[in-house]
Amino acid sequence: MNKRKPWINWILFLLTAVIVLLVAIIATSIIERKTEAEFAYKPTVKISEFESRNEVWGKNFPRQYQSYIQTADTTYRSKYNGNAMIDMLVVDPRLVVLWAGYGFSKDYNQGRGHYYAIDDINNTLRTGAPFDPTDGPMPATCWTCKSPDVPRLMNEIGIKEFYSGQWAGKGDQMHNYIGCADCHDPETMSLRITRPALIEAFERQGKNIEHVSHQEMRTLVCAQCHVEYYFDKNIVEGAQYLTFPWDNGLTVEDMEKYYDNLGFSDWTHSLSRAPMLKAQHPGYEVHMTGVHADRGVSCADCHMPYRSEGGQKFTDHKIQSPLNNIHNSCQVCHREEYSDLIGDVIERQDKIIENRDKLEELLVRAHIEAKKAWDLGASESQMSEILQDIRHAQWRWDYAAASHGGSFHSPVEISRVIGTGITAVQEGRIKLVRVLGELGYRDEVPYPDITTKEKAQKYIGMDAKKLNNEKKEFLKKVIPQWKQQAQEREAAYKTVSN
């Protein structure tokens, strides 16, 4: 057609080519920006199902991770607690007598941050000095609440297999302190339960954890560990199965009835021969009886409140006493003066501890008075009811004392529990007076000099020096081996980038 002006054809051709080129560029640009979307707003690494190393989670969630490792802080002391490590046997040597014959009389420290979970269980005299995987006083079950390596190992070998064997047998597998994998799903960061004991306890009560709300989960992930528990030796042969004694309910009476019906005791007191119960940190159970739980406040609302850094709001993972974070924990809801809020807390603690201290003193007296009766030749039938009273009284004392914060979480209930404890121990002591009288003893049994930890431990016949030396050897020889084995194992883990 354009024979006379062939250059027009060239122009048309080039024009079409340029249009095609531009269209291709737009297509490329669209593809490029779509690819960007795969990486923008996506986390850096892919976290595997059983990733137990907290640093890896921290690559995707630096704010949560950086605030979490602040649980290494031990500088805060409130009037009675805080995040510092406190040797409670030094602060209150009566505890040595109350726990005579049991691990806690060897060593009991007020716990510090999650960061120290592995270190502290390695260091405590209660785990002894096992130089052999089958050695030592404590079972493997003790590891359950200490590490995200626990669900990893449980998945590998099975739940009852995890609960079998001695504590030292799994020391090389437990390397990472309590962390992200214990509470979070690695893909969606949803809260989830990783310890079977809580699930089983819910099932026995006819409740389904899948149906609880997100707000309840913010309490239940803590309730995996901050609860009363015991080891059931009868479920599986050879295993010490972690069980929560909640079948009758969560109150101190309910759990007492549960244990009494089973005829269960944690140890026999070395002075009074009473069949004793140890209460371990019933923080969740006590919290649920208090007004804050009633109003729907969860553990995380106070202990992990929201924080803002440069426009990003996130959950503060420095789990600590809310007294060290009043403006974010309390003042969000309670618009009071800082000193008023602290004063309110201290007032309740002071008043409850007044009675708690009294109960402790009475329990010490009851134990030594019972010992006196045995020494003078009392019979089983004379003593059995008295020993039950001592058992029940100390159970109530321990339930209150170990609830850590019970005087804040539920002051009325805790006061009541201590009150019933005082009643029980005094009833026992009234019976003891009669028994001692029948045996010819009418004086007051002298209160021993247990003004220091050393004196108290000597009084109950404990060789603290030997235990400490054995522990030092253990820490020098065995722990480095465990660390070495763990490092070798973790070197083989792969981390996948997103």
């Binding site: 048309l12 707003y41 449980m154 739940i159 893909e187 969606t188 339960i193």
Partner: protein, 191 residues
Amino acid sequence: MSKLHFLIPSENWQKPVSILLGILFGLIIYILIISNSMSYISDKPDTCINCHIMKPQLATWQHSSHRETAVCNDCHVPHDNIFNKYFFKAKDGLRHATIFTLRNEPQVIFIKEDGKAVVQDNCVRCHLRENDIVNTKIDLDDWKLNNGKLCWECHNEVPHGSVNSLSSVSFILEEESKRIPDWIEKYLEMQ
């Protein structure tokens, strides 16, 4: 007719031009597909995050009071009549697409005047009863004459928060997952 003849290539040129036109046609279909062009007719929020820089707005909306009751277009597109709706969508969409393609997006995205007018009208459209009672029913023209405040001058967190930035949210993760992991269900024989 001769004008059209001018455009038709001669014998020698027909093959290469046909091929080029074929490529052009294919590329256009390709672009229509990869750009999710059909999604722009709907009102779904996922359409707006075809451009990933809108993800902070999506995320803040998902954590806001309006999540269950209003999607993006309920506020950002006029609802006075259907022609206006699609005209505005087309105009605004083309503007967005151009900026996004040229990589010209600002680090802090603020709404433009046309958009402000639309959003203000939509606030009033749904919250008519409240606006009658408190007499805050204004439009953008009223505001320009200083005859009142736009709704979000007081309600400034609704729904996208008060921090406008491409990095104001970190990750967009999916919704809740199971509370009990599979491995526990297996061992406790709960399945």
